[in-house]
Amino acid sequence: MTLFNYSASELQEMIHNKELSIADLTAEAYTRIEALDEDVKAFLALNKEQAMAQAKEMDEVPASERGPLFGMPIGVKDNIVTEGLETTCSSKILQGFNPIYDATVVRKLREAGMITIGKLNMDEFAMGSSTENSAYKITRNPWDLDRVPGGSSGGSAASVAAGEVPFSLGSDTGGSIRQPASFCGVVGMKPTYGRVSRFGLVAFASSLDQIGPITRNVKDNALLLEAISGVDENDTTSANVDVPSFVESLTGDVKGLRIGVPKEYLGDGVGEAAKQSVLDALKVLESLGATWEEVSLPHSKYGLATYYLLASSEASSNLARFDGIRYGFRAENVESLMDLYKETRAQGFGDEVKRRIMLGTFALSAGSYDAYYKKAQQVRTLIKQDFDQVFENYDVIIGPTTPTPAFKVGEKNDDPLTMYANDILTIPVNLAGVPGISVPCGFSEGMPLGLQIIGKHFDEATIYRVAHAYEQATSFHKETPQLWEGAKS
């Protein structure tokens, strides 16, 4: 049993009744990390001294000045910059890098009174689906330490699933929040592109990246998204749209809701257990008054190729800034400036990052641009139109988050294309820019499965309403991995 069995509102009530202090809550996170992280390996850097000092100060703040997330501990993915706290993107090229400002989301966490516990492991520069591409350590799935937690936000999902922290932030470019949330049995939301400021998120693919929350239940997730959303003058791609109260949308009422279920999401390549768990979930939603019909997103199968061309192209440009000059790792014993660039990048980047920089540089180079890059941008339009058409007649789209549950560490390392196939059900959502969530919807061979609920642009409220109604009618989110109880807490 840990304090992190409780939701934010339950914890707030305990704090209000003086059964618990914010300092106790912060200490609980570090106690859990000390007991569990040797196995789970979710955290890269800890912010212990500052966090404990901050907690003590916050215990003095009057109740009237506290919001729903005040004093809540949170872990932050290591591609989100935190002033004075090492930020590496799990890459050797940023080893020892201490940011000189906070990302907008980190500022917003502070304004909400949340306490940053530490930085979370990931695939290097968010390129990967297993967190095996970290230059520092391989995060393990708390449900089975021989399996991957998914990626690239593997540390963010694993830390919440292990009960080390009740909240974390991840980022999602092609599924990097939803896929690990699914693998680890937690709730992960990729908001609409533009909903959350990307200022201070180290850029991978700028037209696809979004920051989003990972939690153990839907309500906490809605609270956190509300706190980090909004237009930001430091991010010209953040959208100037109203941020509704997502928590108010959690009415439990889905009567008359129209669900589209793409036949492509229950077709070849998707495992039986994933399919069955989705059909079971649809029955639950039907019993609550929703209706569903089969629909088609005919260009889904082209999503993977489109994504790898576009994301790699954008990455090859974004990662040009890592040159060893102004920050991070710098190669030694080189003669010329050109060699300094080349050696720094060759020694500083891992293989997957190099592979994508090479692919992107190739796709953008003279003679390839029209055939690969422009072609992929055109197919992106077709994929986006698929979603637009379905959303003319349906409120949400539902399918599995991933074709299979978490695989074993080392199982898919040999062939990049096999690893990429993990993301076939999440990638189209990024290409269309729409929001999507993964919520726990069952187990297969003891490993969690995720239900993906996709909504219209800027309609996270409906997604949360459906996810919450489903969650309240089921108990999968209450399950915890065996090591949860094993902690000496």
Partner: protein, 96 residues
Amino acid sequence: MANISKEEVKHVAHLARLAITDEEAEMFAGQLAAITNFAEQLNELDTTNVVPTTHVLPLVNVLREDKAVPGLDREKMMKNVREQEAGQVKVPSILD
């Protein structure tokens, strides 16, 4: 099937400012060929007259007021610079 030669890989590596060994060039040649062959499936689609999507939001020319605002502190900005001299970033010589 598109083939990518070791020489092409080395050219791309130069454009990307990555030092690359012969063995790596060989490995990337195979992997890039596999990935680009996989991407050839996009040619099944007729995209004549399809407008490319660079961005999903209907945003154009987001500008702020043309007014000077303070930037980051210079000393802070030098904090992560590995080699520096007299407040300048030091790099290897760029002229022979």
